[in-house]
């Protein structure tokens, strides 16, 4: 298929992550633990399955995850 980044991005937004994922409420509940595991170099994805996939699918939670990780790393 012809490489079209915009088309592929839109396809990604329409279809979402292929893997099972947690919802926004669970994401918020687990985000602090997930971020600290990441910041410490541990396998956060293994500890909290489904959260990484959710961050791929939910732009709002993804932005908040990026901010929290940066804030914690700067502390």
């Amino acid at each position: 298929m012809t490489e079209r980044p915009e088309f592929n991005e839109t396809l990604g937004r329409l279809l979402g992550p292929a893997e099972p994922e947690v919802g926004c409420d669970t994401c918020f509940e687990e985000l602090d633990r997930y971020v600290e595991l990441e910041a410490a170099g541990h396998d956060a994805d293994a500890a909290i399955p489904g959260l990484r996939a959710h961050l791929e699918g939910c732009p709002a939670c993804r932005e908040e995850h990026e901010s929290l990780l940066e804030l914690v790393r700067g502390d």
Binding site: T10, L15, G16, G23, D32, E36, L71
Partner: protein
């Protein structure tokens, strides 16, 4: 399939109980214990702790609005600082209400930061869309369709696009279609749409998740 979130009665995805430890094996870290004790205190010490926490939350909220400033050039510095202050106030209220829910699985400050970041991010998104009409229909679709109709677009891409269009129109409920088109095609922030539809981010994401799952099933052959 690996162990994965199970659906609750209301359909929300949730981690299996074994994935959700209620407290760290060694108990709370000393700094988090201090925060909890001080915040629960009466009189001067309690007020001091709440003021310190507010300062911390304001720092986090200002950090968040500063990160979003580039994406929203129409929001002025004064307005953004007002948003940060409101976010810190609201985050403090939420935290004080939920102190007993802190499980000690992260430092207390990390747990607290997420409330301030959430409040600030939601308020920035909503302020940026204040007074703007939320596009719920096909604007975004036309843009996507046009890329696949360009002369060099290959047949596979055209067919996939056609199948998606049919699946969106024929397989989704009107509510699913509205949410998918607004969020995934028209770029409406989920918090803005949640406010306009008088619902929550979590409920809307569930609708989006179900719509995506239905599309994936319909397109299984094409993908």
């Amino acid at each position: 399939m690996k162990a994965f979130p199970t659906a609750t009665v209301d359909g929300r995805l949730q981690l299996p109980a074994r994935e959700r430890p209620m407290a760290p094996p060694g108990g709370l870290d000393a700094e988090s214990e201090d925060w909890l004790r001080d915040l629960r205190g009466d009189g001067g010490p309690g007020e001091d702790a709440r003021a310190r926490l507010h300062e911390l939350l304001l720092r986090a909220a200002r950090f968040e609005v500063a990160r979003r400033r580039g994406a929203h050039p129409d929001l002025g510095a004064e307005e953004l600082d007002e948003i940060a202050n409101e976010a810190a106030d609201d985050a403090l209220m939420s935290i004080l209400r939920k102190l007993d829910e802190f499980r000690g699985l992260s430092r207390f400050t990390t747990w607290a930061y997420k409330f301030a970041l959430y409040e600030a991010a939601v308020k920035v998104r909503r302020r940026a869309w204040h007074g703007r009409q939320v596009p719920l229909e096909r604007e975004g679709w036309e843009r996507v369709a046009s890329t696949a109709l360009e002369p060099d677009a290959d047949l596979e891409q055209r067919e996939l696009l056609g199948a998606i269009k049919t699946a969106i129109e024929e397989s989704l409920s009107p509510h699913q279609r509205r949410v998918l088109v607004a969020v995934a095609l028209n770029g409406v922030p989920i918090d803005v749409l949640a406010e306009r539809l008088s619902t929550t981010r979590g409920a809307l994401y569930k609708t989006l998740h179900d719509a995506r799952a239905k599309l994936r099933r319909e397109l299984e052959v094409e993908l």
